[in-house]
Amino acid sequence: MDASEVIDSYVHDVARRLPPGKRNDVALELRALLADELGARADAEGRPADADMAVAMLRGFGRPAEAAVRYYRPFTIIEPSDTWGFLVATIAGGSVISLLASPGPGDTYNERAQQATVAFLGWLGVLVIAFAVKNLILRRRPDAFAWVPRPVRVRDRASRVGGVGLALLWAALLVLYLAPGRVVGALSSGRIAARTLAYTDSFTGPLRMPWLVGVLVLAIGLHLLVAAQGRWRPATRWARIALTALIGSQLGWHARYGSIFSDPDVDRHLIPVIAAMSGLILAVCGIELYREYNRIRPAQAPAPVSTPAPTNGPAM
């Protein structure tokens, strides 16, 4: 290739990225300008222009895609400013899909994994289309989707009644966990026999059941502590996230690792429920972790401080 062909190649690569109405005009002007630039460079170096010189000059001009963007701002499916929102929506949707895809009775893991993969790809497609439509609307009506002020929720306040209530709820769950047969038997006035919900020896052994008991006791203690303090502090917030993760993962472990109840029929019906609870608790843990990561300090404006009146002219 000679220098002129190199320029033609570059101009072609730039122009084909432009709208049809602009291509020929930009190409004609760009070719003339680049030829002038190359001629000046050849004069400065005291030798005739060649392909290498043209390539070096054009690389300084930028990749054709970059040069084309300077002439025409193309339609962007996902704007850089939307990247975070897109990622959050992708991860949130993916988490919900994984939760819903937990294998139920009679399902094989592979079938569920295939369904979850297809659903996730579908979700990605929906997101891409939704963001593209939003950006198309914004391109035509820049004032669309205007920002609207919303009150910032202060989540650190903890009422004493609410804290004690949550501690009691966890305590009730702990009792149910420790003796499900007796609790359900009492609640059903004896219609469901306590032995129906008896645990296997393997489950009550040292490697499975006692760990969650310990975690639930810690959760009860945490809620009582926060109720006494009247607010969530960084240490208690992180402890809540850790305990939520532990409870979710313990339940998931129970659902995945061997039988829980002596009666196989009870196992068959309740293990999917325990698995779903595990997924739900882990999803809540994910939301709490996300909120902690996005926490802005201070959440509220500090108390107003008196300042001297400005003496300068209007701001520029």
Binding site: L30, A32, L33, A35, D36, G60, A67
Partner: protein, 110 residues
């Protein structure tokens, strides 16, 4: 903290970017084509990359500040740009604004 030469270079480029349009308008009271305009700006102490200048010319033309016409008399066709009547008014307004800002900055820097 910006202390190195690279940091200064970026900030200086940002400063120059703000006055680029005014510099270009100032040279287009007489018709110029892209390369000759770049030379004229460089000769006046305002070198500018071709990749920045040429799209800027088209943007100013699309905004109505410049007019252009093709000259096909020479060996290669060239597009000449010059200020449109609206561009003349824009240039006057921007020149006055620039002088005011220089005055303000001189006061601040003294």
């Amino acid at each position: 903290m910006v202390t190195d030469a690279d940091g200064f270079g970026k900030l200086e480029a940002e400063l120059r970017r703000g006055v680029l349009v005014l510099a270009v308008l100032s040279r287009l009271r007489t018709p110029q084509y892209g390369y000759s305009l770049r030379q004229a700006l460089a000769a006046g102490g305002m070198p500018i990359e071709e990749g920045t200048l040429y799209p800027l010319l088209r943007r100013l033309e699309a905004q109505g500040a410049l007019e252009s016409s093709w000259n096909t008399d020479g060996a290669s066709p060239r597009r000449y740009y010059r200020l449109s009547p609206a561009g003349e008014r824009l240039y006057q307004a921007m020149s006055e604004s620039w002088r005011r800002q220089v005055g303000v900055m001189n006061t601040l820097l003294d």
